[in-house]
């Protein structure tokens, strides 16, 4: 398990917090803030918890606030994976 991909994030979002009717999760959302996608801080916390269960990373609650967009989340997780590799 070398990398956390955009595909992984979409999949985990779908199974953990669902998708708002007005949002197309498969469109180019990498730099769209989670708040604009209908996800509040609790939803991002839930997604972070789901990532921790599948990938060997730990995401402290304090860091969750910095995961403002899908890209920031993917980069954050991959940097953690790299540092523990």
């Amino acid at each position: 398990m070398s990398e956390f991909t955009e595909h992984d994030l979409r999949r985990l979002i779908r199974i953990s917090v669902g998708v708002d009717d007005s949002v197309d999760l498969d469109s180019d959302i990498l730099d769209v803030p989670f708040t604009e996608l209908g996800y509040d801080s609790l939803a991002v916390l839930e997604v972070a918890g789901r990532i921790e269960k599948e990938f060997p990373v730990s995401i402290p609650d304090d860091d969750v606030a910095d995961l403002e967009t899908p890209r920031k989340t993917i980069d954050y997780v991959n940097s953690k994976l790299a540092s523990t590799a």
Partner: protein, 422 residues
């Protein structure tokens, strides 16, 4: 065209109805089942009840919340809220309200709740116990608690005015409507009120066992028999109702499609502590509600009973009714014999049932009761619906722990005669 305003505030009217009941998943299906005496009570299917002392419940069988609730919301809410979200959509559609066209801070939500999102909480606690704290979802923090439904309705429909929750077991549904009326009289235009419950998990049922009030029987026709000589407890149920309340001036101003009737009177009381020697106060609540409505007892056409299904509590309710109306002095009914005890879901559903009874001129039946218990001198409408002009109804609710509430509901026809327009 507005009605001539008398001294008091504008009447509070019901302009939209939403129902999720074990015997009907919308207003008209529920009403058709209720008049046909069709019960939603059967053996529990949501979990295997074999090892439990309660075998029956009024479940919403094969209910698929995804039909009613977007996936995003589905994940963060419990079944009780799924039912409320569905019922609220129906009520708003029925009222033909477009909330975005109204000032958002004049729109409120008041629901009642008694059992919380207990099936959601049980699932997360099982995760905690079997897998560890990392496996408890973030939504455990919001989904289970009593105010969750009000919060989610407020967010979903952008109702940003007064929002609250009432916790008073089965009297709570009436209290929520009473509180909604108070909010409308202050400075609101429209309030969603009512309540829904779903305690259909082992933890939800087991939590009620210490009261000793649940029926242990397995025959759905002999389990929940309020006012019957063979009464042996109540059957738990899930579901409830959401109503749209408006003050009549606001309803007329926006051109409301219809008015089902008026919330004419409301009162709540709390019983003295056990052993005090003082009498219970359901009668007082009913008298205060009648006084609040300015309606003499003789004008009440039907009483919707709380109908506990326990001999002593049934007798208390019968005595309260008889003290006001005289022995066999008013038709009494308990359509909840077809849904089971819905806790905070019951008040809203009973009020809707009363409004439909007024609309159609028929009192729905109390099913399965065969022999009225000694001391219950009630004209109980049994077996079949009774055609009868229903202008004004009294709805009673009692909550475990000493809560009593009463509401006087006036049908739209009567309201039209008195108000001069409708």
């Amino acid at each position: 065209m507005t009605a001539p305003r008398q001294d008091g505030p504008a009447p509070v009217v019901v302009t939209g109805l939403g129902v999720m009941a074990p015997n009907g998943r919308n207003v008209e299906d529920y009403w058709a089942s209720t008049l046909a005496g069709k019960s939603g009570i059967d053996r529990i299917t949501r979990f295997d009840p074999a090892g439990y002392p309660v075998q029956l419940a009024g479940e919403l069988r094969s209910f698929d919340a995804a039909e009613y609730v977007p996936s995003r919301l589905l994940m963060e809410t419990s079944m009780m809220s799924h039912l409320a979200l569905a019922a609220a959509d129906m009520a708003l559609a029925d009222a033909e309200v477009v909330p975005a066209q109204l000032p958002e801070y004049e729109l409120g939500v008041v629901t009642a709740n008694a059992t919380g999102g207990v099936e959601f909480g049980q699932r997360e606690l099982q995760n905690l116990w079997s897998k560890g704290p990392d496996h408890v979802g973030a939504y455990m923090s919001i989904a289970w608690f009593f105010a969750a439904t009000t919060g989610q309705l407020s967010i979903r429909h952008r109702f940003r005015g007064h929002c609250g929750v009432v916790v008073a077991e089965q009297s709570g549904g009436l209290d929520a409507i009473g509180q909604g009326r108070r909010v409308l009289r202050q400075d609101h235009r429209l309030v969603l009120v009512g309540g829904t419950e779903s305690a259909m998990s082992p933890a939800g049922v087991v939590a009620q066992l210490p009261t000793g009030k649940l029926s242990p029987r397995t025959d759905p026709t002999r389990a929940y028999l309020p006012f019957d000589a063979d009464a042996n407890g109540y059957v738990p149920g899930e579901g409830g109702a959401i109503l749209v309340l408006e003050d009549r001036d606001s309803a007329l101003a926006r051109g409301a499609a219809r008015q089902y009737g008026e919330i004419a009177g409301y009162a709540a009381t709390f019983d003295p502590r056990p052993g005090s020697g003082r009498p219970p106060t359901l009668r007082k609540a009913a008298e205060l509600a009648l006084a609040d409505a300015g309606v003499p007892a003789g004008e009440i056409d039907v009483v919707f009973a709380d109908a506990y299904g326990i001999a002593e509590l049934d007798r208390q309710e019968a005595e309260a009714i008889t003290a006001i109306f005289g022995p066999y002095g008013v038709p009494v009914t308990a359509p909840k014999t077809m849904t089971g005890r819905l806790y905070a879901g019951a008040g809203g559903l009973d009020v809707i049932t009363a409004l439909l009874a007024a609309r159609d001129g028929v009192i729905p039946p109390t099913i399965n009761v065969t022999e009225t218990a000694p001391g219950c001198e009630l004209d109980l409408v049994r077996e079949r619906p009774r055609p009868c002009e229903v202008r004004t109804a009294l709805v009673l609710g009692r909550g475990h722990g000493g809560f009593n509430s009463a509401m006087v509901v006036r049908g739209a026809h009567q309201q039209a005669k008195e108000g001069g327009d409708n």
